[in-house]
C-alpha cells in the first residue's frame, strides 16, 4: 500500500476514534456539574454517586456494544459499522447538551441522560475494534504495531481534548473568572457536548471517502465471510480459548493500568490530595502531552521485539511502583508537617443577602501559606438566618491546595511516569489482538476481551478504588490494591501463556 494511502487510513480511523473518546470522556469529566443539573439536589453525595453509576453504566454496556457492532462488522464490513458507531456516539453526545435540567422536566432528565449514556457506551464498544481492525488489515506485517499505535494514541488524546475544551470554555464565558465559572456550571457545560457535532460531522465526511478493508472485501467477494460470528467466536473452543487468553493475559491488566494512570491519578490528586480543580487537570494535561508520543514508540518497537514483553513490563513496573508513586503525591501535598507562615494568613468574609428571605449567605475564605510554597485555601459557607436562634446545622467546608512551580512539576513527572506505563501496555495491544484472531471473526473476537478488560476492569477502577477507601478508612492508598492485584494476576497469566510471536500473516 502507498504511504499516502496508509496515512489516509490511519487519519480517517484515528480522527473518528479520537472524537468518540472525546464524547465519552466529557461526561465523566463533568460528573459533578451534571449531578447538580440532572439529579435531585437534596443529597449531593447521592447525586454524585448516581452520576458515577451512570458513568459506570457507560462502561459496562461497552462489552455489549462490542458484541452487537462486532457481529455487524464481521457480517457487513468494517467501514459502515464504525461509521454507524460514530453517528450514534455523536448524536447521543449532542443530545445530552440539549436536555433540560431536573428542575424543568423532573425525573425524565436523569432517565434520558442514562439512556443516552448507555447509547454512548454501546457505540464506543463497537468503535475501537473496527478502527484497530481496519488499520491493521491495511498494514504490512512488519509495521502493524507502528501503524495501529496511532489508533492507541486516540484514547489519551480524546481525554486531552475533553479536558482542554472544558478548561477553555470554563474561562471564556465572562471576563471575570468567578462569573465565568458560575455561568459554566449553570449552562456553559453544554458547550463541550454541542461542539461534538461539528467534530463528528468532519469525521463522518473523512470516513465516507474511505474504502472497505481489503482483507474483508476479498473475503466477501469469495463468499467466505462468517455466517454467525458470535457462534464462531465464543462457541468454538479453539477460538474461545484465545478470547479468554486475550482477556486474562493482556486486556484485564492493561485496562487497570490505563485507568489508574489517567483517571484514578487525577481523581486522587483532586479528592485525596485536595489539589485545586484546575491544577489537578493541567497536571494531567501536561503529563499526557509528554507521554503520548510513547504510544507510537512502543508500538513501533513491538514490531521488532514482539508485543508480549513490552506490555508485561509495563504491568510489572505499575505493580511495584504504584504505592510509592501515589505515596509521593500524598507527601507533596500534605501540609501537616510543613511550616506555615502564620503572619501571612489571610481571612476574608463575604456576606451576600439572599433575595426575599431576609437571610444571608456567609462565605469565609482563609488562605494559609506554607514554607514549601503550598497555599491552603479553605472556603466555609453557612447561612445567617434572620430568625433568632436558628443556625446552619452543618457548615459547608471546601478545601483546596495550590502548589508552587516545583511541586507542580514533581506531580507532572509522577503522573507522566504512570502514563508511560499506560503507553507500554496499550501501545502494542491493538496489533496483539488483531494477530490473535482470523479475519472473518476478528472484529467480534477482539472487541469483547478488549471492552471487558478496559470497560469493566479498567472503567470501574476509579469507582472501586474510591469505594475501597471508604471501606478501609485507615489507609489512603488502599484503593490501589484493586489495580495491583488485577494487574498481578494478568502478569502471571501473560508470562505463562501468551506467545511473543508476531503473526506474519493476518490475511486469513
Amino acid at each position: 500500500m502507498k504511504p499516502t494511502s496508509i496515512r489516509s487510513v490511519i487519519l480517517a480511523s484515528s480522527v473518528g476514534t479520537l472524537i468518540e473518546w472525546y464524547d465519552f470522556y466529557i461526561f465523566g469529566s463533568l460528573a459533578t456539574v451534571i449531578a447538580s443539573q440532572f439529579f435531585p439536589k437534596t443529597n449531593p453525595t447521592a447525586a454524585l454517586l448516581s452520576t458515577l453509576a451512570t458513568f459506570a453504566a457507560g462502561f459496562i454496556v461497552r462489552p455489549f456494544g462490542a458484541l452487537v457492532f462486532g457481529r455487524l462488522g464481521d457480517l457487513i464490513g468494517r467501514k459502515y459499522t464504525f461509521l454507524l458507531t460514530l453517528i450514534i456516539m455523536g448524536g447521543s453526545t449532542f443530545a445530552i447538551g440539549l436536555i433540560p435540567s431536573y428542575d424543568r422536566i423532573g425525573v425524565f432528565a436523569p432517565i434520558i441522560i442514562l439512556l443516552l449514556r448507555l447509547l454512548q457506551g454501546l457505540a464506543l464498544g463497537g468503535e475501537y475494534g473496527g478502527a484497530a481492525t481496519y488499520v491493521a488489515e491495511h498494514s504490512p506485517a512488519n509495521r502493524r504495531g507502528y501503524f495501529t499505535s496511532w489508533i492507541q494514541t486516540t484514547a489519551t488524546l480524546g481525554l486531552f481534548l475533553s479536558l482542554g475544551i472544558i478548561l477553555i470554555t470554563r474561562h471564556s464565558l465572562d471576563s471575570d473568572l468567578s462569573k465565568s465559572i458560575s455561568k459554566f456550571n449553570d449552562w456553559g457545560w453544554r458547550i463541550p457536548f454541542l461542539v461534538s457535532i461539528v467534530l463528528v460531522g468532519i469525521s463522518i465526511y473523512i470516513r465516507l471517502k474511505m474504502k472497505e478493508s481489503p482483507l474483508f472485501a476479498k473475503l466477501k467477494d469469495e463468499g467466505k465471510t462468517s455466517v454467525n460470528p458470535l457462534k464462531e467466536s465464543f462457541a468454538h473452543r479453539s477460538n474461545l480459548k484465545m478470547v479468554l487468553l486475550a482477556l486474562f493475559g493482556a486486556t484485564m491488566g492493561q485496562g487497570v493500568v490505563w485507568y489508574t494512570g489517567q483517571f484514578y491519578a487525577q481523581s486522587f490528586i483532586e479528592n485525596v490530595c485536595k489539589i485545586d480543580f484546575e491544577q489537578s487537570r493541567t497536571i494531567l494535561i501536561w503529563a499526557i502531552l509528554f507521554a503520548t508520543p510513547f504510544f507510537v514508540v512502543f508500538g513501533k518497537w513491538s514490531d521488532k521485539v514482539g508485543r508480549k514483553w513490552i506490555m508485561l513490563t509495563g504491568m510489572f513496573l505499575a505493580i511495584i511502583t504504584y504505592r510509592p508513586l501515589f505515596d509521593q503525591l500524598l507527601s507533596i501535598s500534605d501540609t501537616t508537617n510543613k511550616k506555615e507562615f502564620v503572619t501571612r494568613k489571610e481571612i476574608n468574609t463575604k456576606i451576600t443577602p439572599l433575595e426575599n428571605t431576609g437571610n444571608s449567605l456567609r462565605t469565609v475564605t482563609s488562605i494559609r501559606h506554607y514554607k514549601e510554597g503550598i497555599k491552603l485555601i479553605e472556603v466555609k459557607t453557612d447561612t445567617l438566618y434572620s430568625q433568632p436562634g436558628k443556625a446552619t446545622l452543618k457548615t459547608d467546608i471546601k478545601t483546596s491546595k495550590l502548589l508552587n512551580d516545583e511541586n507542580y512539576r514533581w506531580m507532572i513527572l509522577i503522573v507522566f511516569v504512570m502514563i508511560l506505563y499506560v503507553t507500554m501496555v496499550y501501545g502494542p495491544i491493538a496489533a496483539f489482538l488483531v494477530e490473535l484472531f482470523p479475519t472473518k471473526i476478528r472484529y467480534t473476537s477482539m472487541s469483547l476481551p478488549y471492552h471487558i478488560g478496559n470497560g469493566v476492569f479498567g472503567g470501574l477502577t476509579p469507582f472501586i478504588a474510591t469505594l475501597l477507601t471508604t471501606i478501609y478508612t485507615g489507609d489512603k492508598l488502599v484503593g490501589l490494591y484493586y489495580p495491583i492485584i488485577i494487574a498481578a494476576v494478568c502478569l502471571v497469566i501473560g508470562v505463562l501463556y501468551v506467545s511473543n510471536k508476531i503473526d506474519p500473516d493476518v490475511n486469513n
Binding site: 454517586l49 453509576a53 480459548k241 487468553l245 469493566v456 470501574l460 505463562l496 500473516d505
Partner: protein, 79 residues
C-alpha cells in the same frame, strides 16, 4: 513449561469460586451495613458483572489444565 501451565490451571479454576465467594460476602456485608438504594444497586452491578467473568476464569483454568495452551495456533487453519 507446559507442566507449569497445566498445574497453574488448577489455581485459576480455584480462584474463580474464591473470587465469587469474596465478592458476594463483601456485597452482603456492605448492603447490611448501609441498606440504601445506592449501595444495593452498586453491589448488585458488581456481582452481576464479575460473576460471569469469574466463571470465564474457571473455564480458562480448565482449558489450561487440559493442555489447550501447550501449543498456541500459528494460523487460522488451527482455529
Amino acid at each position: 513449561m507446559n507442566t507449569i501451565k497445566r498445574f497453574a490451571g488448577i489455581f485459576w479454576i480455584v480462584l474463580g469460586p474464591l473470587a465469587i465467594f469474596y465478592l458476594i460476602k463483601t456485597a452482603a456485608e456492605e448492603i447490611a451495613k448501609k441498606p440504601v438504594i445506592d449501595t444495593k444497586i452498586q453491589w448488585i452491578v458488581f456481582v452481576v458483572i464479575f460473576v460471569p467473568i469469574a466463571i470465564g476464569l474457571m473455564i480458562f483454568g480448565w482449558y489450561a489444565f487440559k493442555g489447550e495452551y501447550d501449543h498456541l495456533p500459528e494460523s487460522s487453519k488451527e482455529i
